[in-house]
């Protein structure tokens, strides 16, 4: 029976979580296709504020990397917006014309920021705060020091304001109501918050009604109804969100404010579900992550065909994710008949706590300054606990019940099993302790992976760690390093250090001395150890080809059908008619199906049978080609522009320098692939500022860059420094590469290594310490003596009895034998 087809429109946090549950409950049941209007993978949207403030980077907040989609066989269309749902034919159509059939459809189109339709709302410089593109646009504006007005003093608006302020911008917040965050805070807490923000230099204007945005196509200021004018170049609108329900409405589904669904998240069409911010359940649209994840759980259970619970409304606590501001609110805290309140104020300490009580039960809590008891109060709200017994001391929090302050660990230990630890993901205490016991989890990462606790906003991390400490006792070591793999408890750094310290010079020696738990390692540790030994003992270690990944063993790139691709080196991206003719001849002779120009300025021949590789290399070798190492954790390409040879803007011989670097460094093995580029002027046509190492030539010399990325992650380079001559440039580039070779963890690209050890540390060793630099350079030169051998030529010339020869031929061909008889 063929699998059912599940199509998901939208790739945000809610559908992502739903698929996780679904793959767990019913693996392989559905063929899943996702259409994502955003051109990227699923990331943690609630963590955009730390990205804006610079405390986290985009790669830190990715939930599902590209690998996840491959692993689960999910077809992900990035940047495809669905324009039509045909319920009759059961198909969806994207704006590019892609059509997909579905058996079940999940609509998770999320919401759009609401734009106040004042004059000027469409000017350049008016942004919203919703996705990574908005954050990027704000950061760009921050670079030019633009003054900003944030319209909206709610959760999102204030996070945006604080983030932009921490980027050094001049920020004013306009809020329509008399006090900030009035939906989550009472006016007293709102006032404290306003004071704190003003203390940080953010101007706050309440009761501010925007009349229009000033300017001429481009933002110049904001005018309020009372005539006040706030000059600015950037306006961020954060006044609320609107569910994206248009596509559902056009398809004839029932739509209110959002797409109307029942408590199993089904729309008015039984084969179509809706969840996330676009859905309306029981008359409510949700925007906080906890109820959205609850929807994911319910929908996944239903799609998996398992008896499942239904979606129920619950109070979600609110926190403001601004570093240094502690604020927590839960439940309903409006004043009213029959309601009493308990208030604690400590003006000096900046603390405000208010509990709203009805019939001896807490119905709402607002905490400012000291929020440690937030979860404790929230539990009372949820459980409707009678608090009359402890009413006298309730406001002082959990530690003061019973008179003596309790040890916080004891307090955590005393929490009931169903106490909610992670609000974002709805994880309770017993979920965590149970998984720790059952699966033997010992690291925070493991607990996150298996329970999701503290995996979203992270504010409960401390609580989760305390739970781990209680459950594991002495076995819990919070600073424990991530082991290389299941074969050892040691991390990469320890293994590298011990290889040098104990002069371990073979894989069996490492495994013996460092007490490997398996007899001969695994596919994770063996390639890593092989690299470390090649790097550390270039003259003594015999490369173990059986510990290399197939691409490096076969010196070609394996493709999905088991054939290989071949990329010869084109120094600095230059070629000639003779070389091109040789490639053309090889393509014809071996009937190579695909020829492709690569991003690294060379030519890839794809679809070559493994048996043909030596003959292909022999022909290429005759034309002077050597291996391009396009398969290697090693030096790949040095991309160049034409520089002073041809370009009217060129300041130096960028092509020449690129060729020189490539000829000097080819053949070297590195922890992960290394791509370089040399641009002849700051116009940067060789795109050097997203490479592992890059050079921008300037009139006065060579600006050396490092730690860029343009693959799974996008990151501009850091500047290492500027040098005057080509010789110096080469020495610095070689030295930084050698430093990375000696310190990098296997498969860790330069940008990750540099971030781990610190950019300043790299600069200190390479720019400021000439002796260190020279030593790195010399060690690289020494290792090149053994590394700069063309592997293709070696294999073309190998004796028939050598492994290098046999690798490419079948052990036996029984079809030939039978045919011969």
């Amino acid at each position: 029976m063929s699998k059912e087809k599940l199509v998901v429109i939208g790739n945000g946090m809610a559908p992502g979580r739903m698929l996780e549950h679904l793959f767990e409950a019913a693996p392989g049941r559905y063929d899943v296709t996702i259409f994502n209007a955003e051109p990227r993978v699923n990331y943690d949207r609630i963590m955009l504020s730390p990205v804006l403030s610079g405390e986290k980077s985009f790669e830190d907040i990715i939930i599902h990397g590209d690998g996840w989609y491959i692993e689960h066989d999910v077809m992900l269309y990035k940047g495809h917006k669905i324009t039509e749902i045909d319920r009759e034919a059961k198909t969806v159509t994207s704006h590019t014309g892609e059509i997909a059939d579905y058996d079940k459809l999940v609509i998770a189109t999320g919401s759009s920021p609401f734009i106040i339709p004042v004059p000027g709302h469409d000017f350049q410089g008016v942004l919203t705060y919703r996705d990574l593109d908005d954050v990027d646009a704000m950061l760009l504006a921050a670079q030019s020091g633009a003054r900003t007005v944030v319209i909206g003093g709610g959760l999102l608006g204030l996070e945006a304001a604080a983030g932009l302020k921490s980027r050094g911008m001049d920020v004013t917040v306009l809020h329509l109501m008399p006090s900030l965050m009035e939906r989550q805070l009472d006016s007293a807490a709102g006032f404290l918050l306003q004071q704190e923000l003003e203390g940080r230099g953010i101007q706050v204007i309440t009761e501010a009604s925007t009349k229009r945005i000033l300017g001429d196509g481009k933002v110049e200021g904001v005018e309020l109804e009372d005539g006040t004018i706030v000059p600015c170049e950037l306006v961020v609108m954060a006044v609320g969100i609107r569910p994206n329900a248009a596509i559902a409405k056009e398809a004839g589904l029932d739509v209110g404010r959002g797409i109307i669904v029942d408590d199993l998240l089904r729309t008015s069409d039984p084969d179509i579900y809706a969840l996330g911010e676009c859905a309306e359940v029981g008359g409510t649209c949700y925007g906080l992550v906890a109820p959205l994840y609850e929807m994911s759980r319910v929908a996944a259970g239903h799609l998996a065909g398992e008896p499942t619970k239904t979606f129920k409304h619950s109070e979600t606590p609110t926190k403001l994710k601004v570093t240094g501001i502690n604020l927590y609110s839960v439940g309903d805290f409006a004043e009213g008949e029959g309601r009493e309140e308990i208030v604690l104020r400590d003006a000096m300490g900046g603390i405000y706590k208010r509990l709203v009580i009805e019939n001896n039960r807490i119905v709402g809590a607002v905490l400012y300054g000291d929020v440690a008891d937030g979860g404790w109060f929230a539990q009372f709200v949820k459980d409707k606990t009678d608090i009359s017994e402890m009413r006298e001391t309730l406001i002082f929090g959990q530690n003061y019940q019973g008179g003596e302050p309790l040890d916080p660990m004891v307090a955590v230990a005393a929490l009931p099993d169903d106490a909610e630890i992670c609000g974002c993901n709805g994880v309770c205490k017993s979920d965590i302790t149970g998984k720790i016991d059952k699966l033997g989890l010992t690291s925070l990462d493991d607990v996150r992976a298996h329970t999701k606790a503290s995996a979203s906003c992270g504010t409960c991390t401390g609580l989760v760690e305390q739970l781990m400490a209680i459950t594991l006792g002495d076995a819990y070591n919070p600073s424990a390093v991530q082991p290389m793999c299941g074969c050892t408890d040691l991390g990469h750094s320890d293994v590298r250090r011990l290889i040098k310290a104990q002069s371990l010079k073979s894989i069996p020696a490492v495994m013996q001395a460092l007490e490997w738990k398996t007899s001969c390692g695994c596919a994770k540790c063996r390639p890593a150890l092989n690299y470390y030994l090649v790097c550390d003992w270039p003259d003594e270690y015999a490369d173990d080809y059986q510990s290399r990944f197939i691409n490096e063993r076969a010196h070609a790139n394996i493709q999905k059908d088991g054939t290989y691709s071949v990329v010869p080196r084109m120094w600095g991206g230059q070629t000639s008619s003779k070389e091109l003719r040789a490639i053309a001849d090889v393509v014809d002779k071996f009937e190579i199906p695909t020829v492709k120009v690569t991003g690294g300025q060379r030519i890839d021949m794809l679809g070559i049978k493994k048996e043909d590789l030596p003959a292909v290399w022999a022909d290429l070798g005759k034309a002077g080609f050597v291996s391009g190492h396009a398969y290697a954790k090693g030096l790949r390409t040095v991309k160049t522009c034409v520089g002073t040879d041809w370009c009217r803007f060129g300041t130096q011989d960028s092509t020449g320098l690129g060729v020189r670097i490539e000829k000097f460094m080819w053949g070297s093995w590195t922890p992960a692939k290394v791509k370089m580029a040399v641009s002849g002027c700051p116009r940067n046509c060789a795109e050097a500022t997203c490479k592992d190492v890059g050079v921008i030539c300037v009139d006065s010399g060579y600006e050396i860059h490092f730690a860029g990325a343009a693959g799974l992650d996008i990151k501009g380079t850091e500047v290492l420094g500027t040098v005057k001559t080509e010789d110096e440039a080469l020495e610095h580039i070689v030295a930084i590469t050698q430093m990375y070779r000696e310190q990098g963890h296997y498969l860790e690209r330069i940008y990750k290594w540099a971030k781990r050890i610190g950019y300043d540390e790299v600069r200190a060793q390479i720019m400021d310490d000439a002796e260190k630099r020279k030593a790195y350079f010399d060690r690289f030169v020494f290792s090149q003596k053994f590394a700069q051998v063309d592997p293709w030529k070696e294999r073309v010339e190998a004796e028939p009895q050598a492994d290098m020869f046999a690798e490419y031929r079948p052990l036996a061909d029984l079809t030939v034998r039978e045919a011969a008889e």
């Binding site: 491959i70 007899s519 390692g521 059986q546 076969a554 052990l811 036996a812 079809t815």
Partner: protein, 117 residues
């Protein structure tokens, strides 16, 4: 190892030393490619050279213990049973194989050897 064929013949395919330790080579047969694996302990195994996941050539993977990691998506296959290990589910067909001294012999159905051509 149980013979999966009604009539089975042992076919000599090469010497143990033709396969690197912790390595593999493939044998072309009329019924498709067969992978022959040699472990660190010098045990030999024969499996169809076809990962149950996406058909990756298992002979191109890294051999560790009595298992091999597929080069395409890192599924780990038990050489003894042909079953995927860990969280993955799937199985690849195993074939009888034996060592006669240093000579490796593969157990095949003679009918398939002729039928193929």
């Amino acid at each position: 190892m149980n013979a999966p064929f009604k009539h089975m013949t042992w076919v000599r395919i090469g010497e143990l030393s033709d396969i690197p330790v912790r390595g593999a080579r493939c044998v072309v047969t009329p019924m498709g490619k067969i992978g022959v694996f040699r472990t660190a302990a010098n045990d030999v195994y024969a499996l169809e050279d076809h990962c149950p996941h996406k058909g990756g050539p298992l002979t191109q993977g890294i051999v560790h213990g009595a298992s091999v990691t597929c080069p395409l998506h890192n599924w780990v296959i038990d050489l003894e049973t042909g079953k995927a290990l860990g969280a993955d589910h799937g199985q690849v067909k195993t074939l009888p194989i034996r060592l006669d001294g240093t000579v490796i012999e593969l157990g095949l159905d003679p009918a398939t050897l002729v039928d193929g051509h």
